[in-house]
C-alpha cells in the first residue's frame, strides 16, 4: 500500500536550509531520514520543494484565468516536500512519519494513495 508523507515545515525550518549555522543539521537530518527509508526498502520516491515564495498558483474558473504569485494557501506551516513510501499498513506509515524531521518542528501528514481510477465504462 502506498502512502505519501507530506512534510510541513515552519518558516524557521525553511530558512534553516540556507542558514550557515543550521544548514548542516537540517540537511543531515533529512539526508539520514531519506537513507533510512531507502535502506528499509520502503521508499518509492519524493522530492524537496523550493520555499512557498517560489510558488505560482493557477486558477481557471468560469473561463477566467488567474495566475497568482505565491502558494495556494497562506498557512503557518508550509509544504516543504514529500515522500512516497510503500508499507503494509497505516500503522507502519505513521511510524515512518513520526521519524520525519518535520514531525518534531512542524508536522508530517500521511495520506493513503487512491487505487487507480476505474476503467472507462
Amino acid at each position: 500500500m502506498q502512502y505519501t508523507i507530506l512534510v510541513y515545515e515552519t518558516p524557521a525550518e525553511l530558512t534553516a536550509r540556507a542558514d550557515p549555522k543550521r544548514k548542516d543539521a537540517y540537511w543531515g537530518a533529512y539526508r539520514a531520514y531519506t537513507t533510512a527509508l531507502r535502506e528499509a526498502g520502503v521508499m518509492v520516491g519524493g522530492a524537496g520543494l523550493e520555499p512557498p515564495r517560489t510558488a505560482t498558483t493557477v486558477r481557471q474558473h468560469d473561463g477566467k484565468r488567474r495566475v497568482q504569485d505565491g502558494p495556494f494557501a497562506e498557512t503557518k506551516e508550509q509544504l516543504g516536500g514529500y515522500y512516497v513510501i510503500d508499507v503494509p499498513s497505516l500503522d507502519k506509515a505513521l511510524e515512518w512519519a513520526a521519524r520525519c524531521p518535520s514531525a518534531s518542528t512542524g508536522a508530517a501528514e500521511v495520506r493513503p494513495h487512491m487505487p487507480p481510477p476505474p476503467p472507462p465504462a
Binding site: G28, A29, L90, D91, A103
Partner: protein, 407 residues
Amino acid sequence: MSDAAAAAELAARGSYGRLLAYLAARWRDLARAEDALGDALLAALETWPRTGVPANPEAWLLTAARRRLVDGARHASVTAAAEADLTLMLDERGDRAPHPALPDERLALLFVCAHPAIDETARTPLMLQTVLGLDAVRIASAFLVAPATMSQRLVRVKAKIRDAGIRFEVPEPRDLAARLDSVLEAIYAAFGSGWEDVAGADPRRRGLAEEAIWLGRLVVRLLPDAPEARGLLALMLHCEARRPARRDAAGAYVPLTEQDVTRWSLPLIAEAETLLSAAARANAPGRFQLEAAIQSAHAQRALNGKTDWEAIALLYAGLLRCAPTIGARVAYAAALAEARGADAGLAALDTIPADAVAAYQPYWALGGHLLKVLGRNAQAREAYDRAIGLSEDAAVREFLLARSAGA
C-alpha cells in the same frame, strides 16, 4: 471548576476502573458497561451541581449505571423520556440507597484485557481504556496509531470478549504465572508507549509512564505474592528515577553513562530496590526481575560512582535466555563493549540478523559509537546516519549528528 464537577472528575479517575470492572463482571459486556458508566458520569455532572455531591459518589454512579444497564436490557433503546425519568429517580434516591462494599474486580478485568484470545496490540489500549478510563484519542497518540483505527480496534475487541464469552475471573493457580506475564507485558508496553528505547525517551513526552506505574502498583497490591509484578514495578521506578537526568539544562540529550547522578531520584531508586529484594525472596526469577536487576546495577553509580559492566553483561545474558528481544540483544552488546571493549560489543552486534534491525534505531546508534571508538570512521558515520534517520526525537537526532560529525 464547580465542586460537583470536581467531585465527578475525582470519582471518575479514582473509581472508574473499579466501577467498570464490577459492572462488566456482572453484565459480561464491556462496551455496554462502559456506555452505562459514561452515561452515569454525564448524569452526575448534570445532577450534582443542583442537588449537591452525594455522600458516596461511587455508590451513586454505580446505581445510575446499573439502572442504565437494566433499562437497556429491557428496551432496545432508551427513549429520551425514560432517560429524564431515570435522572429524576436518581435525584431522589440514588445517593441514599445503602450500598455494600464494592468488591474489587479489577484484577479479573486486567486478565480479560490480556487474555490470549485477544490480539497482542489491543491488550494495552484496552487496559488503559477500561481500567483507567483513558480516551481513545490519547491512547492512539501514545501508540502512534490513527485515532479512528484505535477506536475501531477497541470496539472490535470488546465485541470479541462478549461473543467469545471470555470470563471475568482470575486464572487458576496453575495458569496464573503465564497469564500474569501477559498482563505485565501489556503494562510495560504502556510504560514505553511507542518508544523503542525507553531509557532515551524525551522526558517531556512522558507518554503513559505514569499510568503504567499506577497499573503496576495496582497489580502489586492485588497480587502481593507475585514476584514478577514487583519486578516490573521496580523496573519502571528505576527508569522513572532517571527521567530528569535525560536532558541537560539546555534540553540536549544525555546518554545514560554521562548522566548527572545527582539528578536521579533517590526515593524512587530506594522504593525500586525494596520491591526488588522483596521479589527476590520468592526465589522465582523472571524477565522483569532480571530487567529490574540490570537497572538496579546502573543505579549503584548514584551510590558509589561506579558501574559494574561485567555484572550488567551477565544479567543481560540471563535476560536473553528468557526474553531474547532485539532490544535486549543490543543492550547486551552495549554492556559487553563497556566491560570487554568495543570489539566484543561489535561482535555481539554482528550476530543480530540485518532484517531485524532495518528500522531499529538503538542498533545503529550503538554501532556508530563502537565503530567510532575503533577508528572505523567512515563506517561509523554510515551507522550514525541510519540512527539519525530512524530517530523520532529532535534532541537525540542532534546528539547523534554531533557524534557523527566528530567521527
